[in-house]
Symmetry: C2
Subunit: 255 residues, 2 copies
DNA sequence: AAGTCGATATCGCCA
DNA sequence: TGGCGATGTCGACTT
């Protein structure tokens, strides 16, 4: 691997990082092309406009922005602020380049749904290439799955005598997180949330309870228990109005 | 502004982009510090481990990854795949550096909630600095707001004789998208979705209808109409079981 | 390919 | 600041 011949390069022989500063648009195109071909992360910093059309559509006038092109087709346009890119395209896209009339366009396209993102550079200050290498996958703890495990290993956390019968039990309204029985043999539906919940979680639990009462042809009430660290005031009111219950638990037991 | 003295720099005098290749960890620390001070976007590419602790927690063993530090405190750790960063921190964080024992740690911290993200580099291949400049804010079309405007300008799209009375009408269960009256003076609650909807949207509409029937002390049924391009099978079944209605509309009228 | 739901969701608005 | 709901949500898993 040799350093590129363009002026301004700072690549040394054996580094997984390369950068070309102040390239002509033609030199930039070559460098981007090579990076895409080589399966590296490509970054482009320059003055550009951005057009998006697909599930929605948007248009962004010229400004200095930072573009990332991942080997998996992911495309991210970042500005100085915000966690989310100002425009983007998900993994699986095809990257194509188009030079014309003193501009260089990077286009990311996908189908199902049909979507096109076009970043048109009037000027490019730097192109970078990076050989990412990540043998590990991230494991997160403190999730809803952890909360479920915690309850299954100690059902009395819900209440004394609670017996889990199934997880992910299917109903016409979706899968119930934990389906079980209380000390008086009443059916209990448990909906889990890893964090403080609002009205949406109450509605979800209510859906399961209603559908199960229909399905089981039972005159006895099916109990619905929402398990979360806490609830908002409006959610609490909705719980009361619907005859649903709440148990305060968090995924780790540390809070 | 002068080019940094570190070997391998490719910065020219008057560019909004700088890069330092193969810096020592000390030189990298200086460059990152200067970039943070100067309010530029800072990128760091190197071999690192990542630790996160806050709303959840995670740990990532060493690998080559791409770090972005935005002037607003946003912190993004990107790998070769995926649209979302493997680890991150939202805007408003404080960036601090910590050198020790042959490593350089970049730490992003916030409060409410208390969260810490630590990226520890064993090796750094490149540090970049970029002066982003974006005078424009993005406007997206094809949103739920567009769908609302379309209906308000032509209420008969819902049905002949439909009269909107209010938008964002408050109820104890939240704000109703469009609150109105039909040709027979029955109250109508309209819930808008910009795209194909599942069971959650049906539950949301059901919540509003139920609460309004209570609030209005009316024996007459409050009609609930879900407006979206289409519904999933399970959502359709739930609509039928709850006596709710569906009108097919999209935000643009082009689909 | 589509449905369903969780997420360190993020983001914007409003009380 | 917290509550609330939209999002071009994304992503994982199941059918």
């Amino acid at each position: 691997m040799t350093a590129p011949s363009s002026p301004g390069t700072d690549s040394t022989g054996n580094t997984p990082a390369r950068a070309v500063a102040e390239p002509t648009l033609e030199a930039a195109a070559d460098e981007i092309d090579a990076g895409l071909e080589h399966g590296t992360l490509v970054t482009v910093f320059g003055r550009c406009t951005v057009e998006y059309d697909g599930r929605a559509s948007s248009s962004l006038p010229a400004g200095n922005r930072f573009l990332l092109l991942k080997p998996d087709g992911t495309t991210l346009v970042h500005t100085a602020t915000g966690q989310k890119p100002v425009n983007w395209q998900p993994p699986g896209c095809d990257h194509t380049l188009d030079s014309r009339e003193g501009t260089l366009s990077v286009r990311a396209t996908r189908k199902t749904p049909e979507e096109v993102l076009t970043v048109t550079f009037q000027r490019i200050f730097q192109v970078g290439r990076f050989e990412l290498d990540d043998p590990h996958t991230l494991e997160v703890s403190g999730t809803e799955a952890d909360l479920k495990d915690r309850i299954l290993s100690r059902p009395s956390l819900i209440e004394p005598g609670f017996q889990p019968l199934a997880t992910e039990r299917q109903t016409p309204a979706g899968a119930v997180d934990i389906y079980g029985r209380d000390s008086q043999d009443r059916i209990v539906v448990v909906e889990l949330k890893r964090r403080r919940v609002g009205p949406d979680a109450v509605s979800q639990l209510r859906r399961y309870v209603t559908v199960l009462e229909d399905e089981l042809h039972t005159d006895a009430t099916v109990r619905g228990i929402l398990v979360a660290p806490s609830v908002t005031p409006r959610a609490e009111r909705l719980l009361a109005e619907r005859g649903l219950e709440f148990v305060s638990l968090d995924p780790t037991g540390e809070a």
